[in-house]
Amino acid sequence: MGVFMLLATSSPRADDDVTVRATINPANVEVGGQAALTIEVEGKFRRSASPILPPLEDFDKYEGGTSQNFSFINGQVHSSIIYTYILSPKKAGTFTIEPIRFQLGDKQYTANPVTLTVIPAQPGISVPQNNVQAPPKTGTHQRGNLPGEDESIFVGASADKDTVFVNQQVTWTLGYYTDGRVELLRSPNYSPPSSEGFWVEDLPPQNKYYSNIHNRQYLISEIKRAYFPTAPGVYSIGEARVDIVVDDFGRGNINDFFSRGMSGGFGQQRSLTTKPIKIFVKPLPDKGKPADFNGAVASNLSVTMTADKQTANVGEPVNVSVEVNGTGNMRTLSPPKLTGIDKFKFYESGNSTDSFKQDYVVSGRRKFQFVIVPQVEGQFTVPPVSIPYFDPAKRSYRVAQSEPVPLRVNPGTAENGRKIVYAGGGDDFQVLNRDIRFIHTPPAVLAAARTPFYSRSWFLAAQALPVLLLAGSLVVERRRRRYREDVGFARASRALRDAERRLMEADGAFRAGKAENGYAAMHAAIFGYFADRANVPPASLSNEGIASWLEANGAEAARVEEVRRMIAACDMARYASTSADANQGRTLAKATRDTLTAIEKAIA
C-alpha cells in the first residue's frame, strides 16, 4: 500500500498553478555569438518533462544545464525548474522563437515567445554579453579527479603565476565544467582550498563562459581568489572540492529506484577535486631597499594627508588623516610615521581599509587617523608623509609622498574668549589666555619625611584614655548613686572608717590620761561599727545581739569571743573607774582596731 502511495505521489501530475516563462539574454547578439535561452517552469508538480523547442535551423543549439528547486508550503509541493539552452546564430536577422511548449501530465503549457536580434559580425564592435563571457586568455585549468574526454562534469584549478614576490597577488581560479548532459538535483557545494602561508581575498563575481573542448561545448563557471604570500618559500594552494548530486534516475533498476526513494531521495553524490598548485615565493630584493622600508608591496601607491582644521588653539586636538591608495594588499600596510612634530602631542587614533576588486585585481584604500595636540603657539607645518614600497610589476622600490599640511596654533585653551560681564557696567572683561599658575618660591624650612603623629605609639595609646575615663566614671557614678539610694550600703561602707575615727579619738583620750573617756569612745566605736554593719540604731544593739549578728555572718567563735571580751573590758573600765588604765586602754584600742579590720575583711 505504501509503495503504491509513493508511486502515486511520484508520478507526473499537472496542476492549474503551473507557469512557464521564457527569456533570452542578451536580446542582441552578433553572428557566431552566444545567447542564453532560459525556460523557467514554476508551480505545484512532482516531476517534469523537458521543454519542447521549435525547430531552430538558424542556430547552433547547446544544452546549458538544468537547475531545480523544491519547497513544501502548507503541505503542497512547489517546484521551480530552469532549463538553459545556448543559441549561437548562423545568420543575421530578427528571430522570434515560438512556440516553446511544456507537457505536464495531460496538459500542455506554452511559454511566451522571445525575440533575438542578430547583427552581422563586425570587428571592433562589442556586443554586451552579460554573464556569458569570453574564455580566459591566460592559464589553463589543471584537470582534477575526473579526467577523460567523455566526462560531462569536471573541475580544474589554475594560478596566474607560479613565482611571485612576498605579498604579491596570485590569482587562483577554479573552473567548473559541465556540458549540460547531467542534471543536478542540488546546487554544487564548493569547499575552498587551504591557504596556509597566504593572506586570502575572494574575488567575485563568478565568471561564466562557453568553451569547446574535444568537440563538445562546455559551460565553464569560474571562482577566483587572490592569494598574497606572507613570507618567502615554497607554498601550496591546496585542493578545492566541489560536491554535487546528479540525477541518475532511469539508469538503475527498479530496486535501486525504490531503495533510493525510500531512503530520502534520488541522486548520486559525487565529489570533484582539483590538484594542489605550488607557488614559489621570492624574498624582496635588498638592492635599493630604503632604510625606512616597512614591508609594503603594491603598485601605483599614492598618499594624501589632510587635517580637520587649519587653525587650532594650544591644547586643542587636531585630527590628521593619511589616506593611502594603491594596487595590492593594503590591509598589511603599516602606519606611516609623522615626523617633525616635536611641539605636538601625538596619538594614533585608528585605521580602516576599503578593498576593491576591479577585474580580479585587489586594490584598496587604507586610512590612518592621528590626533596631534599643539603644545605651543606658532605657525607650523606637518611635514610630508613618505611610504616606501616595493612595486613587483617594476621590480623596484619606490616612495609615495604626501603634501605637507600647514597649521596655525593660537595661544590659550578651550576657555579662550570667555567673557565676564560685570554688573556695574563698563568694558567687558575677557580672558585672553589661560596657563598654569607659576612656581612657588623655596620654603624657609625643608623637612624630610617624618612619621605622622597618628602613627606614633603615644597617639595610639592615648586613644584608650577616654574609654578608661568613661569606664571609671561609670563605676564612680554607680557607687555614688548607691550611697544615695541605699542607706544600709552607705552605713556598711563607712562603718570601719567611722569606727577607726572613734578609736583614734579613744587613743587620744588615753594619751591625755582620760581613760574613762577613752573607753567610752572605744565602746562607741565597737557598737557604732556593728550598728552600721547591721543597719540598726546603736541603742538597739546588745552584747548578745552583736554576738548573734557575728555568728549569723559566719564569724569564727574565737572572734565572737574576742569581741565579747573587748566589750566587757570597756564596760568594766567605764563602770568601775578603778580599772580604767590608760596604757591598757591603748593596747585594747589597737587590738579592737585589728579585730574590727579582720571582721570587715571576713564578712565583706
Binding site: 591644547g315 586636538p317 602631542k345 601625538f346 596619538y347 594614533e348 590626533v371 595636540v373 603644545q375 585653551t413 578651550a414 589661560r434 596657563d435 598654569i436 599658575r437 607659576f438 612656581i439 612657588h440 618660591t441 623655596p442 620654603p443 624650612v445 625643608l446 623637612a447 624630610a448 619625611a449 605622622p452 603623629f453 597618628y454 586613644q463 577616654p466 575615663l469 568613661l470 566614671s473 561609670l474 557614678e477 548613686r481
Partner: protein, 279 residues
C-alpha cells in the same frame, strides 16, 4: 666615675651639635638646589628644573611646593602624566592648595581620556570632596576632636545629676539644638553624643581610607603616552583598550613586570609596571 660621666656628657653634646650642623648644612643645600631649580624653570630650561627638583625630592624632602613645582616643570616640558602625578602628590600634603588645584584642572582638561576623568556629583561627590580636601593628618585631628567631644558629652551624661554638670548645661544649653525638639537634658546630651560619635567615625573612616590608600598605594597615574591594556599579564593577551598619559587608575594586583589596573565603568586589565606610577 664622675669624671667618666662628665666626659660622656661632653661627647654627647658635641655629637648632637655636629649632627645639628650637618642637618642644617644639608637643608641649606636642598634649599639652594630648590632655588636653582626655580632659576632653571624661569629660564625655560624645564629639563634642568626637573632634574634639580627630583634631586631634592630624592634626598627625602617632602614638601607640597617642591611637588607643585615639579608638576609645573613636567607640564611645561609636555609630560602631562608626570605633571598629574606630582600635582596629586602635592595635593596629598595640602589638599586645599588653590594653585595646585587650578593647575591640575588645566592639565586634566588636556588629557585624552576625558571620559575616564572622574567627575562625581550628588551626595557622594560632596562627601568625596570633603574627603579629598582634608589631608590625612587633618582628618585624624578632626576625628580626634569629635572623639573628645563625644567623651565629654558621655561624661556629662554619666554625671548629669551632679550640680556642676547641671550648672554647665544651663549655661551652654542655649546653643543646643535638642531644645528645639523638646529634649530634656539627658536627651540633649545623648543627641550631642550621637552627633559627635557619627562625625568622629566619618572622619576616622576618611582618615583610615587615606592611610590605607597611602600604604597600599592603589591610586596611580599613567605616565606613558599610550598604554595598551591587556586581558592578562602577557603581551600575548588580547589588547582590550588603550589608555593615555595622565589617566588615574587603581592598581589592584601585581605580577613580575605587570600590574592589574581598574578604571571607572568596570574597566579592568593588565599593564606593564613601568607605564604607571603610584601617587
Amino acid at each position: 666615675m664622675k669624671r667618666f660621666a662628665l666626659v660622656m656628657a661632653v661627647i654627647m653634646v658635641m655629637a648632637t651639635a655636629a649632627a645639628g650642623g650637618e642637618s642644617a648644612a644639608a637643608q641649606t643645600g636642598d634649599t639652594q638646589l630648590f632655588a636653582s631649580g626655580n632659576a632653571a624653570y624661569e629660564a625655560g630650561d624645564y629639563g634642568a628644573a626637573i632634574d634639580r627638583y627630583r634631586e631634592v625630592a630624592g634626598s627625602g624632602i617632602v614638601h607640597r611646593d617642591l611637588y607643585y613645582n615639579l608638576g609645573n616643570a613636567y607640564f611645561k616640558s609636555g609630560d602631562l602624566g608626570h605633571a598629574i602625578l606630582w600635582y596629586e602628590r602635592s595635593l596629598q600634603l595640602d589638599p586645599r592648595n588653590d594653585d595646585t588645584r587650578a593647575n591640575l584642572a588645566v592639565v586634566r582638561a588636556m588629557l585624552r581620556d576625558q571620559q575616564l576623568v572622574s567627575a562625581r556629583g550628588g551626595v557622594r561627590g560632596v562627601l568625596m570632596g570633603w574627603h579629598r580636601r582634608l589631608s590625612t593628618e587633618e582628618s585624624v585631628a578632626v576625628a580626634c576632636l569629635f572623639y573628645g567631644l563625644f567623651t565629654l558629652a558621655a561624661l556629662c551624661f554619666i554625671f548629669r545629676r551632679s550640680r556642676v554638670v547641671r550648672s554647665v548645661y544651663r549655661f551652654l544649653s542655649w546653643i543646643s539644638p535638642g531644645r528645639l525638639f523638646g529634649l530634656g537634658m539627658a536627651g540633649d546630651v545623648l543627641l550631642g553624643m550621637a552627633t559627635a560619635a557619627v562625625l568622629a567615625l566619618v572622619f576616622a573612616g576618611s582618615a583610615y581610607a587615606k592611610v590605607h590608600e597611602s600604604r597600599v598605594h592603589t591610586r596611580s597615574v599613567v605616565v606613558s603616552m599610550e598604554v595598551p591594556v591587556f586581558s592578562g599579564p602577557s603581551k600575548d593577551s588580547t589588547i582590550q583598550f588603550k589608555i593615555h598619559e595622565g589617566t588615574i587608575v587603581s592598581v589592584r594586583d601585581g605580577r613580575e613586570g605587570w600590574v592589574r589596573v581598574d578604571l571607572p565603568g568596570d574597566l579592568s586589565g593588565w599593564v606593564e609596571t613601568s607605564s604607571v606610577e603610584r601617587i
